[in-house]
């Protein structure tokens, strides 16, 4: 007897794996400090991800047959159009990441709609395809995103937490057909590895770069545990961070291990979302997404506000 039930995955797979890539490039640094725009050395950290990181990852994904999803902010797409076209030509899914420099919680619904429309159109102009996946740029996100996204052709997102399985985003206590594929900080590369000293510093406290061996062990153990429990393992990569020569070997080992494991459904976010839409469109009443969407109902006749309280 276990309290956790195992979802059915396509083809009888035991678990799902979604490899996501955030192609923030220079924007990673431009977000941190206004002076970054005038700092060629700092910006070159981001450019590395375009020049060396992306080609290396694309080759690896080709070789291992990994259908990844690349979230490309509008600003990156404008700056590096040819890279975006190449990712698309290589058969990888491209998702929307707004323009990339906005904090969604600070925008009203109309502004969010404008930003999503603009950034999705930039990607469509480059690839001929409107993105269907969306990952918010870093920073707080408010309520009510799902209908704004759905109106603009977005059918799935990957920006939330709260589960190890996909679920349906809710508005006003009702599920919408927008599927969320939740990720986790500890399965992303930049909290371990991204670094810059000086005024545009990252991490802000300039913590040490983590042990590569420890991170590979961590991610390998994580995948094994997700596989064991039949869940959806989401990896989040930034080419400027993970495709440095040494870290590339690390991600190559991890993905080789995943690909060599039997009964793994390695899929793009879009495929996982499409699969999830074949299920009943409902979340458990105790699911954090449903609880959030009904959180303030007892206190107020109004819809929940999008102003988060700081702890």
């Amino acid at each position: 007897m276990t309290r956790e039930t195992r979802p059915a995955w396509p083809g009888g797979a035991r678990c799902a794996v979604v490899v996501t890539v955030d192609l923030d490039a220079e924007l990673f640094w431009l977000r941190l400090h206004p002076s970054a725009a005038d700092r060629p050395k700092t910006l070159s950290l981001g450019t590395y991800g375009i020049l060396r990181g992306t080609p290396r990852l694309l080759n690896l994904f080709d070789e291992l047959g990994v259908p990844a999803t690349w979230f490309v902010p509008g600003h990156t797409a404008q700056r590096h159009a040819e890279t975006v076209r190449e990712i698309h030509r290589r058969g990888q899914e491209i998702g929307c990441r707004a323009m990339g420099d906005e904090i969604l919680a600070d925008l009203d619904n109309e502004q969010i709609g404008t930003v999503v429309e603009r950034s999705a159109e930039i990607l469509r102009e480059l690839t001929g395809v409107r993105p269907r996946g969306f990952r918010p740029p870093p920073g707080r996100v408010g309520d009510g995103l799902a209908p704004i996204l759905a109106e603009r052709g977005i059918t799935w997102t990957s920006g939330m937490f709260g589960d190890d399985l996909p679920y349906f985003l809710e508005v006003g206590g009702r599920p919408t057909p927008v599927v969320e594929i939740p990720w986790r900080w500890e399965h992303a590369d930049y909290p371990y590895f991204a670094y810059n000293s000086g005024v545009v510093s990252f991490p802000p406290g300039r913590s040490r770069i983590a042990s590569y061996d420890a991170v590979l062990t961590e991610w390998t153990a994580a995948f094994d545990a997700y596989h064991d429990r039949g869940l959806c393992f989401v990896l989040t990569l930034e080419p400027q961070v993970i495709a440095k020569p040494g870290r590339f070997l690390l991600i190559e080992q991890l993905l080789t291990h995943i690909c060599a494991t039997p009964n793994v459904w390695l899929a793009s976010g879009r495929s996982v979302a499409d699969h999830w839409l074949t299920r009943a469109m409902t979340n458990d009443p105790a699911h954090p997404e449903h609880v959030r969407a009904t959180w303030l109902r007892a206190d107020s006749s109004k819809e929940p506000s999008n102003t988060a309280t700081q702890p």
Binding site: S44, L51, P245
Partner: protein, 281 residues
């Protein structure tokens, strides 16, 4: 896969290795506007580099018979002329690294030129030679810095982060252009090991990385650089790497690198000259 190296390094080598040491000394621990120190303990941490670190490093390099590049601020040259002469006499390259280890981004181009002239004069007085290599001290350079370096006759800079092999700045024709030899934070000892309480280093007072962990990272990186045939640049600081423990770890790393076939250990000036020659053809 990019497995076949695209870069024809000299003598059929598969990759290049540049061991570099930034001999910052106490400049990291003083106010760069006035040169004053607020804490004698921090000053002593800095002084450990030229005092204990440099001789140990030179002995180790002799023993291993590998060349290295030392980027030395003018103030270190002024205070430790014997150590700097010893570096030069041992045949290693000495590059420019500011006077007070200034952040070039924060200085006008005129100021940058004055800083460079002062440190170059000091280096020439002590060793008889001026530097042809530049490494940006303390973070960012300014937009105009590369053009200034080029005008002042520098052959190369080793400051940027945007590639894992040299490149040209595109400031003039192929025979005269400034070459860049980029380096990376993950191959920098200071940001893994340096520690102090006041001023806090790092600002978060994060844990000190164990020596073995960071050197294991550096081995991972070397494996990648060798596989792709790139230019592996380690940035070390004698005040950090010059401890008995880390000297031993560095010897182990170099021995490990030597187990790989086709490794070209070179100074910055050799890498820059070679790169210029290849691309000029």
């Amino acid at each position: 896969m990019e497995d076949t190296p695209a870069i024809p390094w000299p003598g059929g080598a598969r990759c290049a290795v540049m061991l570099s040491f930034d001999v910052d000394g106490p400049t990291l621990w003083v106010d760069r506007a006035t040169g004053r120190y607020a804490d004698v303990r921090g000053f002593a941490q800095g002084g450990y580099g030229p005092w204990r670190g440099v001789p140990r490093i030179l002995d180790l390099l002799d023993e291993l018979a590998v060349p290295a590049t030392f980027f030395v601020p003018g103030k270190t040259i002024e205070q430790w002329p014997d150590a700097v002469r010893d570096i030069a006499a041992s045949g290693h390259e000495i590059g420019h690294h500011g006077w007070w280890h200034e952040t070039y981004f924060d200085h006008s181009l005129d100021d940058q030129e004055r800083i460079i002239a002062r440190a170059q004069d000091e280096l020439e007085q002590v060793t008889g030679r001026r530097a042809t290599g530049f490494r940006s001290p303390s973070g960012d350079i300014a937009e105009g810095t590369p053009a200034l370096l080029h005008r002042l006759g520098f052959a190369y800079s080793s400051s940027m982060r945007g590639d894992d092999r040299p490149y040209r700045w595109g400031l003039s024709g192929p025979e005269t252009d400034l070459i860049e030899i980029p380096a990376h934070w993950e191959l920098d000892d200071y940001h893994q090991f340096a520690y102090h309480d006041d001023p806090p280093v790092p600002v978060s007072r994060d844990r000190i990385s164990p020596t073995a962990e960071t050197f294991a990272n550096w081995r991972w990186e070397f494996a990648g650089y060798h596989r792709f045939g790139l230019c592996y640049v380690i940035m070390m600081h004698p005040q950090v790497i010059g401890t008995p423990t880390r000297m031993r770890a560095l010897a182990g790393l170099v021995a490990h690198i030597r187990e790989y076939p086709g490794v070209w250990f070179a100074e910055g000036r050799e890498i820059a000259a070679w790169w210029r020659e290849q691309e000029a053809v």
